[in-house]
Amino acid sequence: MSALAFLRHPTVRRVAQLGAGVIFIAAALPKIADLASFAGSIHNFHMEPVIPVAVVNLLAMTIPWIELLAGLALISNVKPRAGAVVYTGLMVVFTVAVVIALARGLSFECGCFGKAGAATLGTKKLLENLGMLALGVVASTERRA
């Protein structure tokens, strides 16, 4: 079995979907419970040139719910591929944000999993993100009817 075939295997995909779903639900719930901290975390990234500061709160209220729904779709197997695409898209955005912040030498907690998972940005966080991103790619592969 080639590596590609392995990654497209239905069981591998399903496991990836369940993993990604659990990650997103675990990330979403603490943020929904404490939107204010999450807003602060987003602001810490200082994406002002791209994202105006004024919309930080709007992002803080919507992103966790989108994560939650994508996670539920992945776990429940209802539109799991759409859930996986949303997951992967968000992971790309998060990873790019982490890379830019690291390149600018910013040092703060990412707030990625709410306050409890107060990991400070660093190479470890980046590797973690890349791993979660890879999981999303596997989860997004198409299932042939």
Partner: protein
């Protein structure tokens, strides 16, 4: 594709329809949740427009205490014979129950006259490479969840000055709030941090001096 919910076989328009549905529903729910919370109590919800947290500066607070627009007059000096007190010549810091922002001039004064206990909130290697003279290293990551350590911290009757090295020093602001929560008073935050201190070519101390040494 004969089931609306599909199970991973969706593609093309159906796939993107699902993606848009998830994003739109999520966004709606998030805004709806916040609207509901705000309907109950405005403080509990998020403002629709974000405003960056800002600390009041020492000058603002002094000006207010001196009666609105009046220029700040020198604050009362602390008894120079009190060994735990603030040395004479350093303006006393008001206790306002939240961190206060200070500028580099004030920091220099506090450093020179040893008028404050200084905390460097950066990681140990950054601290060892160079810090404000006399500063104690309390890496943010280590202490922020360690309430006991913050509570046990001895401020020697002096104000506590916190700084770090980020572009805007949010860590020091957060640590400032944590210190207030741990019962400490007169917390000052030097938002300019190490980058500004270095740029001013002010004295720098090197080496890993442990906390309390």
């Amino acid at each position: 594709m004969d089931r609306w919910w599909s199970d991973g076989t969706e593609r093309g328009g159906v796939l993107w329809g699902g993606v848009i549905a998830i994003v739109a529903t999520g966004a709606f729910l998030g805004i709806f949740q916040n609207a509901l919370v705000r309907a109950g109590s405005k403080e509990d919800g998020l403002a629709w427009k974000y405003e960056a947290p800002k600390l009041e500066t020492l000058e603002d607070i002094m000006a207010k205490q001196n009666g609105g627009s009046a220029p700040p007059t020198p604050a009362p000096m602390v008894d120079p014979n009190d060994p735990l007190g603030i040395p004479a010549g350093v303006t006393d810091i008001p206790d306002v129950g939240r961190p206060i922002e200070v500028t580099v001039t004030k920091v220099r004064e506090l450093v020179d006259k040893k008028g404050a206990v200084i905390i460097d909130a950066r990681d140990a290697p950054e601290y060892a490479a160079g810090h404000i003279p006399g500063a104690i290293n309390m890496p943010f990551d280590e202490v922020i969840t360690d309430t006991a350590r913050l509570e046990a911290f001895d401020q020697q009757g002096k104000p506590i000055l916190v700084y770090c090295g980020g572009a805007t020093c949010e860590l020091s602001m957060k640590l400032g709030y944590a210190l207030v929560a741990a019962g400490k008073t007169k917390i000052l935050v030097y938002t300019g941090g190490m980058p500004e201190w270095t740029a001013m070519q002010y004295p720098i101390e090197q080496g890993a001096k442990p906390e309390g040494a």
